[in-house]
């Protein structure tokens, strides 16, 4: 194992021990799974509603749980100690994301099973899911880095959650072409649109643009996250 891998795995191990003793965090991670029961509908509904459970699992378990973990480290100043250790930014970020990634994947799978989401081709689904997870974890880290306390994460994270999850539903009411176009590019909407295509007999080749847009979101979020992380190594 290289030193870098050793450092990443040390942070993952710490994160595992720490989060398993944090009931608030575990409960937050489970919220989307509980919500998934509400979406067990047999009637035919639109793709936005059908993908709601997985999008909730991604944004709540992915972004919020990650934000809570990062914000707590910031609040207790342990993040600074990690930043002052020989661990490189990317190693800390990877180490800190692994456990939330596992929780997010579990929450997505459970939500899909509980909500009876129609089945999707596995390869296409994974290609959609992976950039989504990367993006939500990066956004969560970003929210955590910007918050001074773990309480503040809800404050900073709520607008994001509302726009991503509720935007597609309420945006239509605004009757504005520009708003509709913008909403179409939201990762949640990209997920819904891609799933819709697949459910209606489309194949992987028909959803490349959706995967591409999500990848752009992922790359942009990761870059922003690294920039902010590096800036946070210094106090005012």
């Amino acid at each position: 194992m290289t030193l870098a891998m050793k450092r990443v795995s040390a942070i993952i191990q710490k994160e595992w021990k720490d989060s398993s003793k944090n009931p608030v965090l575990l409960l937050t991670a489970a919220i989307p799974v509980i919500f998934a029961f509400l979406f067990r509908s047999e009637q035919s509904v639109g793709a936005s509603v059908l993908t709601m459970p997985m999008n909730m699992a991604l944004s709540i378990t992915g972004a919020f749980v990650q934000a809570m973990m990062v914000a707590e480290e910031k609040e207790k100043h342990t993040l600074r100690v990690l930043m002052l250790s020989p661990a490189k930014p990317i190693e800390v970020l990877l180490g800190k994301s692994a456990i939330s990634a596992i929780m997010t994947v579990s929450a997505v799978i459970l939500s899909i099973l509980i909500a009876n989401t129609p089945s999707i081709n596995l390869v296409s689904f994974l290609l959609l899911l992976i950039p989504n997870i990367v993006m939500y974890l990066a956004l969560g880290t970003l929210i955590g880095l910007m918050s001074r306390t773990s309480m503040e994460t809800s404050f900073l994270g709520m607008p994001l959650l509302l726009i991503f999850l509720m935007g597609p539903m309420f945006g239509a009411l605004l009757n504005s072409e520009a708003v509709n176009v913008a909403i179409g590019y939201l990762p949640t909407e990209q997920m819904a649109a891609a799933c819709d295509i697949l459910w209606n007999g489309g194949s992987l080749t028909d959803i490349w643009s959706h995967i591409g847009v999500t990848c752009i979101w992922a790359v942009a979020s990761v870059l922003l996250c690294i920039i902010v992380y590096r800036a946070k190594r210094y106090d005012a």
């Binding site: 030193l3 050793k6 450092r7 795995s9 040390a10 942070i11 191990q13 710490k14 021990k17 720490d18 003793k21 944090n22 207790k76 100043h77 342990t78 600074r80 100690v81 990690l82 002052l84 250790s85 020989p86 661990a87 490189k88 190594r233 210094y234 106090d235 005012a236």
Partner: protein
């Protein structure tokens, strides 16, 4: 002599609040350097700048010969692996045991996990390894944090009020440990408002007052410099203040030969006396 920390005309402003105003000092390898000052004088700010947690507003600070405001990633990495820091607040993972806390950093610094036990012995906590940090007292947390700072045998230790939460016994124990580390070659930069601590540990001290260095030297030289010119003599006939001159010497000679001398004191100031003298302030 090899300078390991060189600070020139360093200033730090927070908005329009000047926390550090043009400070200069040099620390030689192997020294224990005491940064003394009342609350709010800029001690923590200085430690943060020197350890790479804060950028100076103007001026330069060179550590290991590298300007810390201009370090690239490789230099920063090297800087961080050669320093150990004890901050003024607890920075431990509350839900984890002492052992788990230290083990994480053993791996991050690439030292064997057995180092955890060694450093805990140095801070007198070897028997508490499995205790969850949340249940520790403030002084115990402070000692765990110090132990963590020692894991990788740093060349420079930055200690921000290392004994502020400790009882006298543990303070003595930590002082002995710091002296041993220093004998083994570790340079120590220490902030404190405990003058006794500075007196017993430091080779050099600087008095910081409202962001200025008001005085700086070895404790002995400072005491000599600020010594009262009189000597207090207690005789069977009363107490006298005698000047350090021929006349004073003759009077002391007389008291001694006639057997009237009871006690004699050179009025050496303590570091606290000197501090109050140079700053005109009161030590909190």
């Amino acid at each position: 002599m090899e300078p390991i920390i060189e600070v020139q005309a360093l200033t730090k402003a927070f908005g329009n609040k000047q926390a550090l105003r043009q400070i200069d000092f040099t620390i030689q390898r192997g020294e224990i350097y005491g940064f003394l000052g009342p609350s709010g004088s800029g001690k923590t700010t200085t430690v943060k700048i020197l350890s790479g947690q804060m950028l100076p507003t103007t001026g330069t600070a060179r550590v290991f010969g590298v300007d810390i405001a201009k370090m690239n990633e490789v230099e920063r990495h090297r800087h961080l692996s050669r320093i150990g820091i004890l901050t003024d607040n607890s920075t431990l993972y509350d839900r984890l045991s002492i052992q788990d806390n230290l083990e994480l950093f053993c791996k991050l610094y690439n030292v064997p996990s057995s180092r955890a036990k060694e450093v805990l012995e140095q801070v007198n906590l070897a028997n508490e390894r499995q205790t969850t940090v949340k249940t520790l007292s403030k002084g115990m947390k402070q000692r765990v944090t110090l132990a963590r700072a020692l894991l990788h045998n740093p060349d420079i230790l930055f200690l921000d009020e290392p004994t502020s939460a400790l009882d006298p016994t543990n303070t003595r124990h930590i002082h002995d440990a710091l002296k041993a580390l220093n004998r083994a070659g570790t340079t120590i930069f220490l902030t404190t408002h405990d003058m006794e601590e500075a007196e017993s540990l430091c080779h050099q001290v600087a008095f910081l007052h409202q962001g200025h260095i008001a005085a700086m030297d070895t404790p002995q030289r400072l005491r000599l410099k600020y010594a009262d010119s009189t000597i207090t003599v207690t005789t069977t006939e009363g107490t006298y203040s005698v000047q350090r001159d021929d006349e004073g010497a003759r009077r002391i000679y007389d008291w001694m030969t006639t057997g009237k001398m009871v006690a004699i004191h050179s009025n050496e100031p303590t570091l606290s006396d000197i501090f109050i003298k140079v700053t005109g302030g009161i030590l909190k």
